[in-house]
Amino acid sequence: MMKDHSKLIHDMNSGLGSLGQAMELLVDKEMRSNDLVDKIAPLSLEKIQSLIQIWEQLRPKLD
């Protein structure tokens, strides 16, 4: 189901924020560990795929 425009923007922002937060964790020396990377990597890939889908829905509205 197509979400409305503002919801898509909100989800896009939220998704980008999540990715940024995850990357900050990896950059933080105190937090970084193999275990953490193993958890973050698949979740980040999933998020990127979700963002691509959101972008596919948003793009026609912006053109």
Binding site: S14, G17, S18, Q21, A22, I40
Partner: protein
């Protein structure tokens, strides 16, 4: 208060956000995770008690369902923090109206999460300031207690602290207490009285020096700025610092970096600055006697300690407090207490403490009015025998004739006690007269007396010692 063994719940449907939050909180205790309102309510039913709950507003089973979880979470006794990417005032206001304690915007950074945790700690230790006032800094003066509540805010910030008030009101003592509240230790509290050290040595005490930096520097020495790293630097009588040193200090405070004397390598130090003064720094800035930029750097949180004469209700509390600390317990008759409450205490709390110590050694267990020193009974100054200042007698009159000519009595005094004692008495009386006339403004007094800073404080310390 150290955070550990907390029971926490994180309600967040975004896996990455949930992971980020739980990673940051992992050392604090146990947490339970939920992605929906249903799951969260199940955790609340199963565990019944939480210390901290983080709630996303939009959950997997519906938007803004997080708002409906606030009350159930509060009923577990938790400190409730709402997390959301929503920026609309309406959702933020609704969250607060529903009772949440804090609202954190996503994506959050480590600093904002730390602030939330600090506020949670504060909420848990509400009684700490109350205990502090009852046990450590004795007062029940409403105005002073209100001004001390600022200590709650001092804990939440890195801003400097400026303590002001007449001599003997406990500025140094309060600075130590603030350090202990902030750092939970007495260590790394570095104190420097800027008026007690000659100006040329003050710089080396503050910044330290390398071996051979100047004649006499046979080894290198760390300065107070470096020794205060990770703790507090307390600068007492900061107004007496020279202009050149004020400039150097300003740079060190701003950059948290400085060069020890004779060194080409800068050193860093992260310290909390607490300053104190008897003088009106704002007035000194207006008179161009204190750097304005340094003033704005050190003022931060301001606490003014009133003279004891303006909070006479504390005299009895302090008598009791200091009496308990002496070897012999003494008690005061009601008449003695009345005299003590009426006395104007030019030396403030320091003078009161010295008096209690003296009475506990010299007197019998019950202290009558007649056991009190004459100056206290007559409400006179201990050194001068002059009555307490009133607004009319804020002296603009010239010193008495005896100061300039020698009377028969004075000559007899010299014969009996020696010229040195006589001259010291003259110095004490003159310095004290001008100092009180200038409302304890040091620079103004120095200007009138035309003596050096160190000479002035040598005489003042002698006057204070005579209060014992």
């Amino acid at each position: 208060m150290i955070l550990k063994n907390l029971n926490m719940m994180v309600v967040e449907d975004d896996d990455l956000q949930r992971l980020a939050l739980t990673q940051n909180l992992q050392n604090l205790g146990n947490f339970y995770e939920a992605t929906s309102k249903k799951e969260a309510l199940q955790h609340i039913k199963d565990h019944k008690q939480f210390d901290l709950v983080f709630l996303d507003l939009d959950l997997i089973d519906g938007d803004l369902l997080g708002l409906e979880l606030i009350r159930p979470a509060l009923e577990t006794g938790a400190y409730v923090v709402v997390l959301s990417g929503r920026q609309e005032d309406e959702s933020i206001m609704t969250a607060y109206k529903n009772g949440c304690h804090d609202y954190l915007c996503k994506p959050f950074n480590k600093k904002s999460l730390e602030l939330v945790l600090t506020k949670f700690t504060m909420a848990q230790s509400k009684g700490e300031l109350r205990d502090f006032l009852a046990r450590d800094y004795i007062t029940r003066d409403p105005e002073l207690m209100k001004s001390l509540e600022i200590i709650n805010d001092i804990k939440l910030s890195n801003e400097p602290v400026l303590l002001s008030g007449p001599t003997g009101t406990g500025k140094s003592y309060l600075a130590k207490l603030i350090h202990q509240i902030l750092f939970k230790t007495e260590e790394r509290f570095m104190e420097l009285n800027c008026s007690e050290i000659p100006e040329n040595l003050l710089e080396s005490e503050l910044f330290g020096y390398e071996k051979g930096a100047f004649s006499g520097a046979e080894t290198s020495k760390k300065g107070k700025l470096l020794l205060a790293d990770g703790g507090s630097l307390f600068l007492d009588e900061v107004a007496t610092m020279s202009e050149l040193l004020q400039q150097k200090l300003l740079k060190a405070i701003e950059e948290k970096r400085f060069f020890p004397l004779g060194s080409e390598k800068p050193v860093s130090s992260n310290f909390r600055l607490i300053s104190a003064t008897c003088e009106d720094l704002g007035q000194l800035v207006r008179e161009k006697k204190f750097r304005e930029d340094l003033y704005f750097r050190i003022e931060g949180f301001k606490i003014h300690l009133k003279p004891l004469s303006k909070r006479s209700s504390d005299v009895e509390l302090l008598l009791k407090h200091f009496s308990k600390q002496t070897q012999r317990r003494i008690v005061f008759t009601p008449e003695a207490k009345e005299s003590l409450k009426k006395y104007y205490w030019p030396g403030n709390i320091r003078e009161l403490q010295k008096l209690v110590n003296k009475l506990s050694i010299k007197s019998q267990g019950i202290i009558n009015e007649n056991d009190l020193p004459e100056n206290v009974r007559l409400n006179n100054h201990p050194c001068l025998g002059e009555p307490a200042p009133t607004s009319e007698s804020q002296a603009t009159s010239a010193p008495e004739g005896e100061v300039f000519g020698l009377s028969e009595n004075q000559l007899a005094f010299v014969e009996k006690n020696g010229l040195r004692t006589f001259l010291q008495n003259i110095e004490n009386k003159t310095v004290n007269h001008f100092y009180r006339r200038n409302n304890e403004k040091v620079r103004q007094t120095l200007g009138q007396l035309k003596i050096s800073n160190s000479s002035f404080y040598k005489i003042l310390n002698r006057i204070k010692a005579q209060l014992t």
